[in-house]
Point group: C2
Chain length 124, copies 2
């Protein structure tokens, strides 16, 4: 389910966070679904449990997952994702949009891309 890319310069815990977000968005993981345990995932990826723990802790802070001691970690509902996290994504959206416009992309071409992203979502 989870995979690591040794060429990726980002920290391992960030790679895991990104993959889990992606699985949530694409429906590979559903709301309230149980995630692999810290130890289980650390064994299957051959990395230290502390690294998984860090990824899970930050994902919980951002509202993507919730953990119950003794039971496990679970995917949260998208309504639980923190406003702080949403604000950060909006900022990335604004920054990249403005730079693409600066580079010559038109508003129309960017809007078309967004509409095609939306179509991808509806296929699920």
């Amino acid at each position: 389910m989870f995979e690591l890319n040794s060429r990726d310069p980002r920290p391992i815990y960030e790679q895991i966070m990104e993959q889990l977000r992606k699985y949530l968005m694409t429906g590979v993981i559903s709301e309230n679904e149980k995630l692999p345990s810290v130890r289980e995932l650390s064994q299957s990826l051959t990395i230290n449990p502390n690294t998984i723990q860090r990824a899970y802790r930050e994902l919980e802070n951002q509202g993507y997952i919730y953990s119950i001691p003794g039971k496990g970690s679970f995917a949260a509902s998208r309504a639980d994702i923190s406003d702080q996290r949403k604000a950060k994504i909006l900022e990335e959206f604004e920054t990249s949009s403005r730079e693409l416009l600066f580079l010559g992309e038109t508003a129309e071409s960017l809007c078309k891309k967004i509409q095609s992203f939306e179509k991808d979502r509806k296929k699920m």
Copy 2:
């Protein structure tokens, strides 16, 4: 002109890169305009010249600026920005757009934002 934010967790050289890109996009710095020299900027920011040098080196690799030994560093034209850099920005745009759609934003609301960004540009 340039400022550092000690609360910003990003490396200093990245903060400088982001500010220069922003100044280029907003027209604060024009094409072929001379930038502060490595030593000058390092003194005004009270940081090591090597850190400025690194920011300038990477900005040059991405095509945002060009340097002439003995003369100085200058803002490049937007046409010189590397395709690799453009591809990276497009990727950030796609990632943030898809996640915002997942979080409930509509394609229409995102397109409206882009159109307002475009209006901001035309005011310059």
